[in-house]
């Protein structure tokens, strides 16, 4: 790894700020198009986090699948179901205070576990180009889950068409 440590820190904090800012926008914006835009920003920030972690392939897949496909799907759904949210209705439901409390309690619990556990983390080097190895692993060790996931995608494709058909 030849990246200086300071640069890694800067990259991490910039990407973390983009991710959390986008996520907050996604859950708080009243306008759904704006919420979807916040979601896209958050997903790009997460791809940046993967780059900081030197998982380049997952980062590119994240941009292709999430930013490229899922966000477009969500934008389409927003536009297809437009104007049905009554204007005077708040975006949050009546239980939002309880939801915020539960989320904060969950955050406190996760933070406690993350900071108090000894993770036995080691400083490892990423050994060269991992993408050929990733492909080999998918076709050998993880062949059965790989095929199961292909079948699931096919079922989801057919199911989505059947459910959404007029």
């Amino acid at each position: 790894m030849s990246t200086p440590l300071v640069l890694t820190y800067v990259g991490f904090f910039v990407m973390a700020a983009i991710t959390l800012g986008g996520a907050l926008m996604a859950v708080s914006a009243r306008n759904l198009i704006r919420a979807a835009l916040g979601l896209i920003i958050a997903l790009i920030g997460i791809a940046g986090i993967y780059f900081v972690l030197e998982a380049e392939f997952v980062a590119v897949v994240q941009i292709l699948v999430y930013v490229g496909a899922i966000s477009i799907l969500i934008l389409f759904a927003v536009m297809l179901t437009r104007g049905l949210m009554k204007r005077d209705l708040p975006a949050q439901n009546a239980q939002w205070i309880a939801a915020a409390f539960i989320s904060l309690a969950m955050f406190a619990a996760l933070l406690y576990v993350a900071l108090s556990t000894n993770w036995r983390a080691v400083e490892t080097q990423v050994a060269g180009d991992l993408i050929p190895k990733l492909g080999t692993e998918l076709m050998t060790t993880y062949l059965l889950p790989f095929e199961a996931v292909s079948l699931l995608l096919l079922a989801a494709l057919v199911g989505a068409i059947v459910i959404a058909r007029e």
């Binding site: 991710t19 959390l20 996604a26 979601l39 927003v78 179901t81 949210m85 539960i102 068409i161």
Partner: protein, 106 residues
Amino acid sequence: MIPLPFYLTLAAALFCIGLYGALARRNAIAILMGIELMLNAVNINLIAFWRYVKPAAPTMDLAGQIFALFVITLAAAEAAIGIALIIAIYRSRDTVNVEEVDLMKW
């Protein structure tokens, strides 16, 4: 290298923001967005553990990345089915507000 808890804290924050979105929003599509954020938080954890924690068996040293790839695939399937359901509900009930979709509520 950046300490591992930095990534875990970021993932925890993202997960809880997503949880809040899934619990507090009225619009079904916004709830779906919250669920996507939660899935992404889990993926950050998977990749961070792949980078920082050595597995016991050397054949498993890419497991974190491959798990993350499977989670991304499942999230895509989940989003497609979820949006198809929302559009079907919108067609029959003329709403995507989850509080008005209460046909099966006792």
